[in-house]
């Protein structure tokens, strides 16, 4: 009586060789199910099919457009995305950010006083200089001039001086200003 798994057993045997290569027990079992000829035909067919298909595959080729389309899709999908992703997702560790901020803060406090100091030195060098702020209207010569001397208070100048076009830096005018102040 044949067992339920006989086809599986016969298949295993047929993959190994011809009927004559089987043991007497195996031959006996196969004979209950197949003739020797049938068994050998299965063996011959199965052992040749791989070669047959390898030859036949060559007869049909994939459409070249498929490959071209797939490859053209590939970089757009992957590479550009990666580049953008790297660009926008660039992450700085917190400690680096903190160090950078601290360095900028320190630099600000070092550089700012240096600028102030250089301005003060420049102002000290021009101690005797008279600075004038002169606001003029095009048609009306109603100007207000303020003179600052060595941190002194503003002093008014006669309008006549203004109309003459004299410069307040002139020595004569400077003397006049000092006289008024004293």
């Amino acid at each position: 009586m044949l067992e339920n798994n006989t086809p599986e057993i016969v298949f295993d045997l047929a993959m190994q060789g011809r009927f004559k290569s089987l043991s007497p027990e195996q031959q006996q079992m196969v004979s209950n199910y197949l003739s020797e000829q049938e068994f050998d035909n299965i063996y011959l067919l199965s052992s040749n099919l791989n070669t047959v298909f390898v030859k036949d595959v060559a007869g049909i080729k994939p459409n070249p457009q498929i490959r071209a389309e797939l490859l053209s899709k590939f970089p757009a999908k992957q590479w550009n995305f990666d580049i953008l992703k790297n660009l926008f997702n660039y992450k700085i560790p917190v400690y680096r950010f903190a160090l950078g901020a601290a360095a900028a803060y320190v630099a600000l406090f070092i550089i700012t006083p240096m600028f102030k100091q250089s301005n003060q030195i420049e102002m000290a060098g021009n101690n005797q200089t008279v600075a004038i702020q002169k606001v003029e209207s095009a048609n009306k010569l109603k100007s207000i001039d303020e003179i600052y001397l060595n941190g002194g208070t503003g002093v008014s100048i006669d309008e006549s001086d203004i109309f003459t076009g004299a410069s307040l830096a002139d020595d004569a005018l400077l003397k006049k200003v000092l006289e008024i102040r004293n």
Partner: protein
């Protein structure tokens, strides 16, 4: 990391897929070169020699690889994965077009042995292939599937059982009945096969 084409040729399918998952075009190209012809042929046979449909499904199949390469588990065998997708696409096609209407079931042992009055006059390769095509088109979807995976896809029984989701015993049984039918119906080619 970009490798030369020669390097890619030396890599396994599974390693290549790790590069494909990282977006490497050349790795995908190598996978495509390895599998496109075999898969097209498999689809062609599974779809009753409809080459246009086979080309369409091949395209859809590799689009899936490009779009979702991360779905492949690189610890598994690539050929099993890709043939599983191909087989499922064929099944979808069967469902949508009722291709199975032309198929004869071969599970029933009574099917065998009835059509052996074949002419053995012209025994050559072309005729053999033509006859094989005819015989394959009469197989059920399940039998043709295991037959093609085994002999055209060159897969082991274990791989086939993974692809179709059946025990190995079922795979062996289907292969046995298919081979028995083919060898009986094509017995006139025995001499050709001996050579």
């Amino acid at each position: 990391m970009l490798l030369g084409r020669k390097k890619y040729k030396e890599l396994s399918d599974e390693v290549l897929m790790t590069y494909v998952q990282k977006g490497e075009k050349q790795a995908f190209d190598e996978i495509y070169n390895r599998y496109s012809s075999k898969l097209l042929y498999y689809l062609y046979r599974m779809l009753n020699r409809d080459e246009e449909k086979a080309q369409d499904i091949l395209h859809d199949l590799f689009i899936k690889v490009v779009d979702r390469p991360e779905l492949f588990d690189t610890s598994k065998k690539f050929s099993t994965w890709i043939y599983t997708i191909a087989t499922n696409l064929c099944k979808n096609e069967y469902r949508s077009q009722n291709v199975r209407s032309i198929v004869t079931k071969v599970d029933d042992p009574e099917v065998f042995g009835g059509e052996s009055e074949r002419s053995s006059s012209s025994v050559d390769y072309a005729i053999f292939m033509q006859r094989l095509e005819e015989e394959l088109s009469t197989l059920s979807e399940q039998h043709r599937e295991v037959f093609m995976l085994r002999f055209q896809g060159d897969m082991s029984l274990k791989e086939i059982s993974d692809v179709i989701g059946c025990p190995e015993g079922t795979v062996k049984s289907r292969l046995f009945y298919t081979l028995k039918k083919l060898s009986t119906n094509m017995s006139e080619f025995k001499e050709l096969l001996k050579n």
